[in-house]
Symmetry: C2
Subunit: 339 residues, 2 copies
């Protein structure tokens, strides 16, 4: 018998009412104690705390959020893929800022799928998050306008929104790419292979534009034969490098649109012991292992997330000034100067 009753029976979770009964006070007094309202007798405070601890009471945030109307102390971050270090750096920085505001972070991956992105945004809005941070997968975000009007702050990172005016934090993609390519040109390179992910991605278009601008300004011109887009991973980057090196008039340098492309390119060069130079967007921890001349177009990769989160929490706190556009500058990091 005893064993039966003490066995795994889903013990009902104690509510404030249970605590009130146990402590011999009213429900409201419990609420006051839980919320550290100073207008409660010390005696009551103590007995409530005792009851809380005995019963294992834990306030139901769901109920609190519903009644008090507004803040769920939760924000949502929509990115492409948490496994990619670029995005996990953003998530990590956002989470840190959120913690300072006693807010939890829901991370959701869109997997570059606009439909999935929309779905995930709906789910986040249904949960009444206090705000949204979005690395847009590129569709129209007009459907968020109504939510924003209802007071849900939305901040875009890394890529601007489409069909919507909202706070946005971007990198200086054009400037970074331009100065990286200018550096290659200054070192005498004239044939620079361009390795980019899909040009449907805003950052890739911008980086290509910056690179092109440098080439044009220097009078070298832009050779379409040296461009490979839709390079999604290191393996494809390696193949692209291999193909270009095996072709006519191979490049003497490569511009890599992101760090995974840089790793793939460096691997192929290492395999061939080829001396081509590399200039690449995004730093990565193992960059020092590259034996070729390597110039990184770098930036503080936590700053993107941090700045965006800061803007978001300013909005959550009530700031209704017009949308902010922040552009983070990049710098050249000469990882390996001699090849």
């Amino acid at each position: 018998m005893g064993r039966l009753t003490t066995a795994v029976e889903a013990t009902r979770r104690p509510t404030m009412n249970d605590v009130a009964k146990a402590a011999g006070v009213s429900l409201k007094t419990v609420s006051r104690v839980i919320n550290a309202d100073p207008t409660v007798q010390r005696e009551y405070v103590e007995s409530v705390h005792a009851a809380v601890s005995i019963l294992g009471f834990r306030r139901n945030e769901i109920a609190r959020t519903l009644r008090s109307g507004q803040t769920s102390s939760t924000i949502g971050l929509v990115i492409e893929d948490l496994a990619n270090p670029f995005y996990s750096a953003i998530a990590s920085a956002v989470e840190r800022v959120a913690a300072e505001h006693r807010t939890l972070l829901i991370t959701a991956s869109s997997e570059e799928n606009p439909d999935r992105e929309r779905e995930v945004l709906q789910e986040l809005l249904q949960r009444r998050v206090d705000g949204l941070l979005i690395v847009p997968a590129g569709v129209d975000h007009g459907f968020l306008r109504a939510e924003m009007a209802r007071g849900v702050p939305v901040v875009f990172l890394d890529r601007p929104p489409t069909g919507l005016d909202a706070d946005t934090v971007l990198l200086d993609n054009v400037g970074g790419a331009r100065s990286g390519v200018e550096y290659m040109l200054a070192r005498g390179h004239r044939r620079i292979g361009m390795l980019l992910d899909s040009l449907t991605i805003f950052t890739m278009r911008e980086r290509l534009a910056g690179a092109r601008a440098a080439l044009m300004q220097c009078g070298v011109g832009f050779d379409d034969a040296l461009l490979r887009d839709d390079v999604h991973d290191p393996g494809q980057a390696s193949s692209a490098v291999a193909a270009m090196l095996d072709g006519h008039a191979p490049p003497t340098a490569f511009f890599c649109g992101n760090n995974r492309i840089a790793i793939g390119a460096a691997l192929e060069l290492a395999r061939r012991d080829h001396p081509a130079a590399l200039v690449a967007f995004d730093d990565f921890e193992a960059s020092g292992l590259v034996h070729n001349l390597l110039t990184i177009i770098g930036y503080d990769n936590q700053e993107l997330g941090r700045r965006a989160a800061e803007v978001l929490f300013r909005r959550v706190a009530g700031d209704r000034s017009s949308p902010e556009r922040i552009m983070l500058s990049t710098d050249l990091r000469h990882v390996r100067v001699t090849s």
Copy 2:
């Protein structure tokens, strides 16, 4: 006047009641339509949908969760640091499984701080998550027992819980380390430097034990002078390697407790053009850039998160069988065979 009233006024969010009025039906009919209850006249279904779309109604999940009692369709993952690729791989895999269950993921970093870990767990429980996945930072988790009895499933990953019996998914740290070191011994290495993060971390103790077992079994014995623990990042790993190589009777090989240590060690060897061999836990994307003989003690780094999440959702679905202990095997990956 018109401009004033249409200006940014926090439009109240429409409720089911508003929809009901707009559609000329009862609240409950709206609820039925929203929940796709088939017992509603087509005519009503249509007018409700119309009202929903005109008003921009979005069901309040907070209210639904409160009333229907149980599932918030949210789970929590507590890790050390989202910026570390080891953890972001876990988070990514968990998120994928969660999405299959139409569940969102709250990620929270403990930053290796037991107090923070506890805080974060409290906050997650207050939000009534459907379940918890924890990479424990190493304190006593007995306080979770009451929650588990109340039906909140908890699964531990990468490290076992303390003071609690619960589902746990681990890597074969001992076996992996042992076979890695055995391989080095078979290649003739007798002085193997050991680079590990803090030995307060379960995985580090296990990996050390495995390495030690291989050394003892082979009759080489364990030399404390070759052990460096508390190696937290690549920089410290580089320094440790430098110090050992500059000392008496330097190692001819290094055992690296994780991938960040491996990167630091490889960097130092590359700087010196030193031929020491490396054997390292965890694969990393840039491992191919290492020029030394490199053997990786690898595993499917998404599997840890995936398996743990699968167990969790089985529990959420009601499985009350006794706690499961899953151990994932490792394999040796010979990244660079000739040095």
